[in-house]
């Protein structure tokens, strides 16, 4: 009776449901559908031709390489940062957490720009790098640096609240019983945070593979060499090669769907282990 009294009348509920479903359908699902439709509208043969093209292949390879370097780097950093911030009290902790989250509010273009300013031909270290014959901007190191910048907070922000809630009692117990610091981390801490860690790595990877603005500034758009998948999509699109652009884009959309599916599965199954992030 009380619950029923609190429920909005059927009319209100129907209208709100309709608005929510329509908005999400039109704003989110329709663009996703458009990618798949445009990719396959000229047949599966052209789709396959587009993604097996040598330039597309090299873009896929480069995207995988960049992610394979930057995600582990930020994972190690994220775990270290979360350990320091969640297990100890020290002055300036709040500021440190805020600075770790800073890349989230910086425009992707600025994130790429900073590395051009440092390592580009006119950058601070540009002339020196040229003398040493080291290329950072318009090459793989630049792509990795820009990707590391934009994916910097993902793992840390997932682990900090989780590990703060877990406290340090279990680690202290293990140490008291004679375990070494590393052993304590591997046997006690890691099992406690594994799903949170997985969650952070998943989101970090999705952003690393899909990043566009930051890598676009440092890449130089050299076909077959410094184009990641999102950049290859742009190049094809600007060439009016729409079917090929959407075909490569459909692979990225697939990556997004797999990420969402895994993320949702983690949330449903291990809600308790992830709960601390709320």
């Amino acid at each position: 009776m009380r619950a029923a009294a609190l429920r909005a009348p059927l009319g209100t509920r129907a209208v709100l449901m309709l608005v929510a479903l329509t908005y999400v359908g039109v704003m989110l699902l329709l663009p996703l559908g458009a990618v798949l439709f445009e990719a396959l509208r000229k047949g599966i043969g052209l789709w396959w031709a587009a993604i097996s093209d040598p330039d597309a292949r090299s873009a896929i390879r480069l995207t995988l390489i960049v992610a394979a370097i930057s995600v582990p780097l930020n994972t190690v950093f994220g775990v270290a940062a979360a350990w320091a911030i969640s297990k100890y009290n020290f002055a300036g902790k709040g500021l440190l957490v805020a600075l770790i989250e800073l890349p989230f509010s910086v425009s992707p273009v600025v994130s790429g720009l900073v590395f051009v300013m440092l390592f580009g031909a006119n950058g601070w270290f540009g002339p020196w790098l040229e003398d040493q014959d080291i290329q950072i901007v318009f090459a793989l190191p630049g792509l990795v640096l820009a990707t590391v910048f934009v994916t910097f907070p993902y793992v840390a922000r997932q682990l900090i609240p989780l590990m703060t809630v877990q406290g340090r009692a279990e680690e202290e117990a293990a140490l008291t019983l004679g375990a070494s610091g590393w052993r304590t981390f591997l046997r006690v801490t890691l099992p406690n945070i594994r799903f949170g860690l997985l969650y952070g790595v998943l989101l970090c990877n999705a952003r690393a593979m899909g990043e566009f603005g930051a890598v676009s500034v440092v890449s130089g758009h050299i076909r077959g060499e410094t184009n990641t998948m999102p950049l290859h999509v742009e190049v094809l699109y600007n060439d009016y090669n729409f079917v090929a652009a959407f075909s490569v884009a459909s692979l990225l959309a697939l990556l997004a769907l797999v990420t969402l599916a895994l993320k949702s599965a983690l949330e449903w199954r291990y809600r308790a282990e992830l709960e601390a992030r709320r």
Binding site: N89, G94, I100, S107, R168
Partner: protein, 288 residues
């Protein structure tokens, strides 16, 4: 995507007993954190600030305050504000429906909300352009009504609507779930109408979360690049966003010009970070 931090270190670690017991690894982990943070984020960002001043005050003001740059800020920040506001309205409805109502495929619906976080921005950009171009599924009927979307500022708005929605929904969801239903019940029992109950009881409780969602969506939208440049048309003074102007300056090898505009964008980022921190405190006080 919640910001759970404050400037001061008023967060204490449960069970922490300073000095009485030594948990190893503080030096190592804090060292790694500070090194990586400085190397990847702080030093690179400070070079942009330094570069923007390298030509002196006058040059900075000329580059950051040119008519073309001002038009670009107006578009980036103005449309980001409008889109964040629209997403507050629709995000509130979506979050409300997600928390309060039961319907088939609700989990799927919930998973879809995060699509803008997972879908690469360039993919979103070309997809939205395909839909809203005047030959597209949505663009054709809109163009017939005399509302061209693609290649106009309205296109920027559509892209930022797409990007911003999950920030509002995900911030509101946990707060709506924790709303005390007793207050609503009491208000209804005492004869308040549903609209009054919503305005006087529900909305004030949600206000801090709504403001946080708005700020997050705005901060993201103002700097957004990938999903916007395909649909925007990129005409100087008309549909050119500030991040694109930075790229243009860079391509002209005008480093200090690019850095000057980037400095303005960074300034806004810092202000938004500050605002989000203050909002976080406001929310913490509300919860008690």
């Amino acid at each position: 995507m919640q910001h759970a931090f404050t400037w001061t270190s008023d967060r204490t670690v449960p069970g922490a007993r300073p000095r009485s017991f030594r948990l190893p690894g503080f030096g190592l982990t804090l060292g790694i954190t500070l090194f990586w943070l400085s190397f990847i984020v702080l030093i690179p960002l400070s070079t942009v600030l330094a570069r923007s001043w390298s030509g002196g005050w006058v040059h900075f003001l000329e580059a950051a305050g040119s008519a073309r740059a001002l038009a670009a800020y107006r578009l980036s920040f103005g449309v980001a504000l409008l889109a964040a506001a629209a997403n507050c309205l629709f995000g509130l409805i979506v979050a409300w429906v997600l928390v309060r109502y039961d319907f088939p495929a609700k989990r799927l619906f919930s998973a879809v909300i995060d699509l803008p976080f997972a879908l690469p921005t360039a993919v979103a950009g070309i997809a939205l352009t395909a839909l809203y171009a005047d030959t597209g599924l949505l663009g054709r009927p809109l163009a017939k009504l005399g509302i061209p979307v693609a290649y106009t500022p309205l296109g920027v708005f559509i892209a930022l609507l797409f990007i911003g929605l999950p920030f509002v929904v995900r911030t509101l969801e946990p707060v709506i779930a924790e709303l005390s239903r007793e207050q609503e019940e009491a208000a209804l029992t005492l004869g308040a109408s549903r609209l009054q109950t919503f305005r006087r009881i529900v909305l004030p409780t949600l206000a801090p979360a709504l403001a946080t969602g708005f700020a997050l969506a705005f901060a993201r939208g103002a700097g957004e690049y990938g999903s916007v440049i395909f649909i925007a048309g990129n005409m100087p003074f008309h549909s050119e966003i500030a991040p694109l102007l930075i790229v243009t300056r860079l391509e002209e090898y005008d480093y200090s010009g690019a850095a000057a505009i980037a400095t303005v964008m960074l300034g806004v980022s810092f202000v938004m970070l500050l605002v989000l921190n203050l909002l976080q405190r406001w929310r913490a006080r509300r919860i008690g």
